[in-house]
């Protein structure tokens, strides 16, 4: 089985496909994504968090891991922007396979913290992002809670899987499809 080269994650972002597909790139997108997904299913936080940030960086965002050990800033990662910074809650597959209620609760908290403590500039409407391995189960109540949060606080919680991030990156790198960064900045609910 082709393995993710964890040690190579600190290399420049341009090498990300070499890192994701250590044993060579398949010809088509579906095969490549399938291999990556299979390789990542056992990824823990140490692998999943930096990889997620690296993919976001490759998509053109100024993304960074949060300050681990800083009790006043427990957000997993940030997309930093001059006006529309985004806190990111990351769930590796070894933590939870599907994005769940707790992930959304944490994203709401992340949004409150960022708006109050102003580590980076943002707006009320800018999404607070959850990145996980799989989308929520239909019966999980996640989508209902996202609607409740938007109605009550005006916060937009966006959820996206690593799969969809990798697909977007593939399209950008190999199919010359321009990635629209506002798709995540303004994300409301599931990434489509």
């Amino acid at each position: 089985m082709k393995r993710l080269n964890i040690n190579s994650l600190n290399q420049p972002a341009s090498n990300i496909w070499d890192q994701l597909l250590a044993e060579g790139k398949p010809d088509n997108k579906a095969s490549a994504i399938q291999i990556i997904q299979r390789n990542l299913i056992t990824a823990d936080q140490r692998t999943f968090y930096p990889l997620t940030v690296k993919i976001l960086t490759s998509l053109g965002y100024n993304a960074a891991i949060g300050n681990q050990g800083d009790t006043s800033n427990r957000v997993d990662a940030f997309i930093k922007d001059a006006s529309y910074s985004i806190p990111i809650e990351i769930k590796s597959p070894t933590e939870v396979m599907n994005i769940n209620i707790k992930s959304v609760q944490q994203a709401v908290e992340n949004k409150v913290i960022l708006l109050s403590r102003q580590f980076y500039p943002t707006t009320l409407e800018t999404t607070s992002l959850v990145i996980g391995y799989l989308y929520p189960e239909d019966r999980s109540g996640v989508y209902e809670l996202i609607d409740d949060v938007r109605y009550t606080y005006g916060f937009n919680i966006g959820i996206i899987t690593l799969h969809d991030l990798i697909v977007s990156l593939w399209e950008k790198d190999f199919e010359a499809i321009v990635f629209d960064k506002s798709r995540i900045t303004n994300l409301k609910g599931k990434y489509i």
Partner: protein
């Protein structure tokens, strides 16, 4: 056996007292001896065997307030969380099993006549006496007494003279022991304390994981949504749970944001370096929801002193943040001299651990 009817006197604050009597006081000493003073004249208190037995049962309207009516709530109306109060099969009077009772003070608080002697943290006893007050009550028919007289218990009265240091720790030890066997016990006990403080409240039914709210209460127009963590295992998650619960209440149940009061009940306040305090301040700053945080200890103190927790009167108080990590001033404002009465005053029952 005739029983005194409390019909029409829904609150324990409204019992019965002869017309013209201005002051009714129940004084409890450290050994659990109780004295009633009617306009300064001492009487030995005695159980009047009330019809609705307020020391034993809450009313359904108290435990099922008219809010979130679809929520499957714990239906227990028992005041005693360990079911130590029963009715004597021969006399019909309430009786307390000394083996089961751990002296928490709930029934003591509920008795309108001071007829429960309490040794805090040890046991409570139903008091019986052929005293002058019985003769006084007998001088009128029970029914007429019920109709014509109203007891106005002075809210400022002190009902215990001191708070025994070990008694309260005995209560907490017992709560934690039972909680280890039944995790929902902390919610039940907290609900019962809040009921004694004049907050009608319900808790989710055992085994129901669909409701992500520990307790929901109602006091006049205020809807209280509470997260309870007596062992400190989940403190950092509490603000998340509250934000979730508020969103659900407002969005799905059309409860106005203005009426929602988030409440946190902790066993003791977290360490001062915990992000808990700053997070509550963040929530206030960003969403305008002011979370009230109490230790169970202080709620029990309020209960023992026969206080009510009136949310309309504590706006701005018990609201913690990065810059305010204790409730000392508010506590002293409600119970003057508390620093002398409570051995634990200033401890982590009143604010962040150093």
């Amino acid at each position: 056996m005739k029983r005194l009817s409390l019909e029409g006197n829904n609150s324990k604050r409204r019992g019965l007292l002869a017309e013209g009597i201005k002051n009714f006081q129940i004084i409890q000493d450290l050994e659990g001896r109780s004295t009633i003073k009617v306009d300064g004249i001492p009487f030995s208190p005695t159980c009047l065997n009330c019809v609705d037995i307020p020391c034993k049962e809450f009313k359904t309207s108290e435990i099922l307030p008219d809010v979130l009516n679809g929520m499957p709530a714990n239906p227990s109306t028992k005041v005693c969380p360990v079911n130590a109060i029963s009715e004597d099969r021969i006399t019909g009077f309430p009786t307390i099993d000394p083996e089961t009772c751990f002296g928490c003070g709930l029934c003591f608080n509920r008795c309108p006549y001071g007829a429960i002697g309490l040794e805090v943290g040890k046991e409570a006893k139903i008091l019986h006496a052929d005293s002058e007050i019985v003769e006084f009550i007998k001088s009128d028919s029970i029914t007429e007494f019920s109709k014509n007289y109203e007891l106005r218990i002075n809210q400022d009265r002190t009902i215990i003279e001191n708070i025994p240091k070990g008694g309260l720790t005995n209560i907490y030890s017992e709560i934690l022991r039972i909680r280890a066997l039944n995790q929902s016990f902390e919610n039940l006990f907290t609900r019962n304390v809040l009921l004694c403080l004049n907050i009608n409240a319900k808790i989710k039914n055992i085994g129901n994981n669909d409701i992500r709210i520990d307790l929901i209460g109602k006091q006049r127009n205020n809807i209280i949504v509470a997260s309870i963590d007596l062992v400190g295992s989940d403190t950092l998650n509490i603000p998340r749970y509250l934000l979730d619960a508020i969103a659900v209440l407002h969005s799905r149940h059309n409860i106005s944001k203005k009426s929602i009061i988030p409440l946190v009940v902790v066993g003791s306040y977290p360490n001062k370096r915990s992000d808990f305090f700053e997070m509550l301040g963040d929530i206030k700053a960003v969403t305008n929801f002011e979370t009230k945080t109490f230790s169970l200890h202080f709620l029990i103190i309020l209960m023992l002193f026969n206080k009510v927790l009136n949310f309309d009167e504590i706006e701005g108080a018990f609201s913690l943040s990065k810059d305010k990590k204790d409730i000392i001033k508010e506590a002293q404002a409600i119970i003057p001299g508390l620093e002398k009465l409570d051995y634990w005053f200033g401890s982590n029952y009143y604010g962040a651990r150093k």
